[in-house]
């Protein structure tokens, strides 16, 4: 056309076009195109404890990892199964109390209590959530939000499991390196594991449930069965983080059912970019330290925090990771139409 109209077009980078799915890489450049972003994340996370050795930052790093695990489990359920689960606190509390009981009553060491609490807690959460699985959308969200409140009040009212005082005298991890590297290792393994999982046949079915559960039923599969598998995976991740948390604080109390554990992972998912699995982890890597840095402002902390969130949702609602992936895989140029 002679009007000289232009539009911006997005072109896949050459390497991306050739490497998508087919890994016949011929040069170092192509190898690094695929592996550098992953290596940056892995090495970056592994180096964190060495770069920031102070006791204060050590704690921030571990808490960040715990939130990142919760955000991972939220993103998995929300964007790959279609269950918006506000039960992060439910998983943390269940895992935490189980680890606490296993440690104080049965005297098991942390390296046994954490996996045990993860698996037993995961099964327990799945069984408790089973009646709610036919629910969708906001109904499931509300019900899953009720569970942590319910359990916290039960413990408080019946004065069991230490009541409002909680369970004290829990063993800590062997040393601070074990603590940090256990969490970072778990985070990396689970993150890449879940990413692998959503591309297997099972993941395909789960994504199908999110898109159209009637079609899945019509294909002869039990939606509830697959949903319960997904909830089990997510709650194992959540309970693992809860169990680690009690060993870090050496205390387990009803504050583990606090809403923070449900809400912050969602905020991190929004910022990081939902449906990418890495995005929520990055979101936590940003949000948790920011919220720590803002502590100097006292009560105003929440104000700044809220402003950052709102700005993000308005100006970058796609999320950091979605934006970043696009910039990495594609370049833009103006073309004449």
């Amino acid at each position: 056309m002679d009007k000289g109209q232009r539009r911006k077009e997005r072109i896949d980078r050459g390497i991306k076009v050739r490497t998508e799915g087919i890994y016949a890489l011929s040069s170092l450049r192509e190898l690094s195109y695929l592996s550098v972003p992953r290596l940056v994340l892995i090495i970056g996370l592994l180096a964190l404890p060495l770069v920031m050795p102070s006791i204060y930052w050590q704690r921030v790093i571990t808490i960040t990892c715990i939130y990142a695990l919760l955000a991972l489990s939220f993103d998995f359920l929300a964007h790959f199964v279609g269950l918006v689960c506000l039960g992060g606190a439910f998983f943390v509390g269940t895992g935490g109390y189980l680890a606490a009981i296993a440690n104080t009553t049965f005297g098991l060491p942390p390296w046994m209590t954490v996996p045990l609490a993860a698996v037993v807690g995961g099964s327990l959460c799945t069984v408790l959530l089973l009646p709610c699985l036919p629910l969708r959308g906001v109904y499931f969200a509300i019900v899953s939000l009720m569970y942590p409140l319910l359990l916290a009040r039960v413990i408080e009212a019946l004065d069991i499991l230490g009541g409002t005082d909680g369970i004290m005298g829990i063993d800590s991890f062997a040393n601070r390196w074990a603590e940090q590297y256990f969490l970072i290792g778990a985070l990396l393994l689970l993150m890449f594991g879940v990413r692998r999982l959503v591309n297997t046949d099972l993941g395909l079915v789960l994504r199908g449930i999110k898109d159209n559960d009637q079609a899945i039923r019509a294909s002869g599969m039990s939606v509830t069965f697959y949903k319960s598998i997904a909830v089990f995976i997510a709650s194992v991740i959540g309970c693992l983080s809860g169990a680690s948390l009690v060993h870090i604080y050496m205390w387990s109390g009803i504050s583990q059912f606090a809403l923070d554990f449900s809400i912050l992972p969602i905020a991190a998912t929004v910022i990081g970019g939902g449906g990418t699995l890495v995005g929520p982890v990055l979101g936590c890597l940003l949000l948790v330290p920011i919220s720590e840095l803002l502590r100097d402002f006292g009560t105003l902390r929440i104000v700044f925090y809220a402003l950052i969130m709102v700005a993000f949702i308005i100006f970058r609602s796609e999320g950091i990771m979605v934006y970043g992936q696009r910039k990495y895989h594609q370049f833009e140029r103006w073309t004449e139409v």
């Binding site: 009007k3 109209q5 911006k8 997005r10 609602s317």
Partner: protein, 253 residues
Amino acid sequence: MLEATDLMVFYENMLALNNINIKCAEGQIVGVFGANSAGKSTLMYTLSGIMQDIQKKEEMAGGERITILGDVTYRGEDISRLKPSQRAKKGIVLCPERRRIFSESSVLENLKIGGYLASSAEARKTIRYVFEIFPALEKLKNRVGGFLSGGEQQMLAIGRALMAQPNLLLLDEPLLGLSPLMQAMLMRATREIRNEMKISIIVTEQYARPVIPIVDYAFILENGAAVMEGTREELMDNPDVRSAYFGVEESHA
């Protein structure tokens, strides 16, 4: 009345509409025919402005970048940059593909929502008119939209669009999934609406046969480009068009 010049729409790098020029004169029924993915719905979305909405949503979600180029003039005024709601106020009303009725509201409520732009006297008059051309709807007026049959839903969708007091009605695949009997009824009703309400109508469809009797002028889209246009008679006389869009076998004796 409505004229679109050099309309181009890109979904990312895919060209959905390629240099389309179409126009619709006052009081005409214009048909737009084409197979799946020919660009019919894209054209309707672009004319009604919904495309801008889709464009914005995609941008927010980090999805595809949609580029819209070209001009749409309506009664001598450039409306290419107007939002869908502003276009509706000017009388360009879309009756979307797959009906999109409010499935949890009753028939009467659906019509009332459609009549948001009309004065209450106009709305009352139009509801009476809708029940007159679609008597089936009156019997169902308290039924919830989601429980209507496909044909009833389509009648309701057209009725709802009429409630907005259109000057130009855009019907996107109104015959989708309907029985031949229902198709013929709807097309008769469409012609009647044009005659009664003195409006212009653009109607898209894949299979031209039920629609062709009522159109004055028609365009044929293929892969986003308008490959042919003409009056009803001109298109009917063209053997290629006859076999491709009317299902009439030519005997090459």
